[in-house]
Amino acid sequence: MSDVRILLDFEGHRRDIAEYERHGGYQQLRKALAGEPGDVVAAVDSSGLRGRGGAGFPTGRKASFLPKDRKPAYLCVNADESEPGTFKDREIMLRNPHALIEGILTMSFGIGATSAFIYIRGEYRTEFEVLRSALEQAREKGYVGRNVLGSGYDATVVLHRGAGAYICGEETALLSSLEGERGQPRSKPPFPAVAGLYAAPTLVNNVETLASVPYILAMGGEAYAQIGTERSKGTRVFSLSGNVRRPGNYELPLTSTLRDLIEGHGGGAPDGRTIKAIVPGGSSTPILTPDQIDTHLDYESIAEAGSMAGSGAIVVIDDRTCMVQLALRVAEFYRHESCGKCTPCREGTRWGVEIIRRIEMGEARQGELDLLLNVCDRILGKCLCPLGDAMAMPVASYVTKYREEFQRHIDEGGCPFVEKSPITGLYHDMELVR
């Protein structure tokens, strides 16, 4: 189990700019400004870094899609971390905010952006305050503002708070929201690289992705590419939660396995309980079974295992938990967050919730499991953005892999796990149950 760490390779925090500078901070900005903008994108491209938000698209290639010399152009920072199970961008912002800011500044210079906007989810109030203080410090040092370090480059960074909507983590919905509208996704193409914020060329990158940039520039793209696998480079900050002894964020090279993370770092399931299921990439990803715990954490291996690396959020579910209740919680979330623009998602998430609720309450008839799978199938791939899929994929995987458990609810006319499942209290009157 290798312990290469890059972004969070220190104890405590580096919110104080002097502390960050003592460890080489803002040197990469200095170097970048002395060179050609194209050098930044070339280094990121050679590192093989892939977007750490969820889609895993190669960052250098995404940046190269922006047309050269079309002004204005923008960099938007996706700090709307909302995929259930994911809390790593929050820790990066809390502990290493200047790495994010240096990444923003170098990438802005690299793509010739006129301004950068940080879209941070509204709930992250403390993290917003941390970034605001960090930006003030960077401004005082001359890293942000007009004529950065005498280079002639003007760097404007605007910190923008969201107001509570999961969908704004989707890049086109983020742009709608940043433009002052309801956060509804737009059809692609045109992609943001061509027509993004205010219809100008726009690059949208996640917090972890951008915070990695200064480290990549410092070590060189080729050196970064030495870490990880053939197609999944570098380290990734994995968010581990659920029923483990030591939940938390763990930065690991992409050669690690689920077992390294869950047992090695997380200490396994508590109190001698056993693991029943593993969410490998945030609540929108298909579930894995305990026999898949030796799956590697790189993008390709998780895909081969039948799921997605997603946002790097691993949720461990122990043997007390009712899978129908879990499905209901997941489905309710996506129903609540559906923006309502596309019919299959708006209606399908609602019907999904209704059927799962009937199963949990013992009201479902024989055949409703297939009906549920049918509803999922009618959402999949039929909308502008993947939100509907984010319900359909995991729910279909729960029904498929734990079908016996779902069927028992129908056959027995109720939930067989009501007394021990930790989620029970959200749906059943506990005083009556016990």
């Binding site: 199970g85 109030r125 969201g162 659920g242």
Partner: protein, 191 residues
């Protein structure tokens, strides 16, 4: 019944307390005395297009009035140059905008999967018992509003509870009575 789950999750909660980074002290509330209209003009100046200021302007109005009344929408509309209906259509999309008056302490409990797996249901039930209200309600004295919310991004350190937008994590059921008592004392002290 709380004890049962508290014990079941004791190890996980202890682990969470170790891995959670320490949060910096909250910054003092911005007490800019200028009228809302003027403060909104400052926000508009930050963006290439003024519509981008609608959401920050709604937030300023909510911070001033506690919720977004018809009057608040009129003021935001006046200051931004958009119609009250437009401002309302935007506000109604986002969970953090309050379209009704709220208690002095808005208590939100995350019940998404990670928090639910480690006892969020018990935390919600404990608040309901302690406050004598159901989720979604406000106490008669106007002190407390209890809400269940979706993922707050504290998944490894759950159950996550926020009070007036400040996170408390992990927050198991047994900590509920003490927090409620402290908030009550706080309100009495200020009265």
């Amino acid at each position: 019944m709380n004890g049962e789950y508290a014990e079941a999750n004791a190890e996980t909660l202890a682990g969470a307390r170790e891995t959670r980074p320490e949060l910096p002290a909250p910054l003092p509330v911005d007490d800019d005395p200028r009228p809302l209209y003027d403060r909104i003009q400052d926000v508009i100046a930050l963006y290439p297009e003024r519509k981008s200021a609608v959401i920050p302007a709604l937030r300023l109005a909510q911070e001033q009035y506690g919720w977004l009344s018809e009057q608040a929408f009129d003021e935001v509309a006046e200051a931004t140059g958009f119609t009250p209906a437009y401002c309302k259509s935007v506000a109604s999309f986002y969970d953090m905008f309050r379209l009704h008056p709220t208690g002095r302490f808005e208590i939100c409990v995350c019940t998404n999967i990670s928090c639910a797996l480690v006892g969020a249901a018990d935390t919600v039930l404990a608040f309901e018992r302690e406050l004598g209200i159901h989720r979604g309600e406000t106490t008669d004295d106007g002190l407390f509003t209890l809400k269940t919310v979706e993922c707050y991004g504290g998944c490894g350190w759950g159950p996550v509870v926020s009070v007036n937008e400040r996170y408390h994590e992990p927050f198991p059921a047994e900590q509920v009575p003490e927090l409620v008592a402290a908030l009550r004392a706080d309100a009495e002290g200020a009265a």
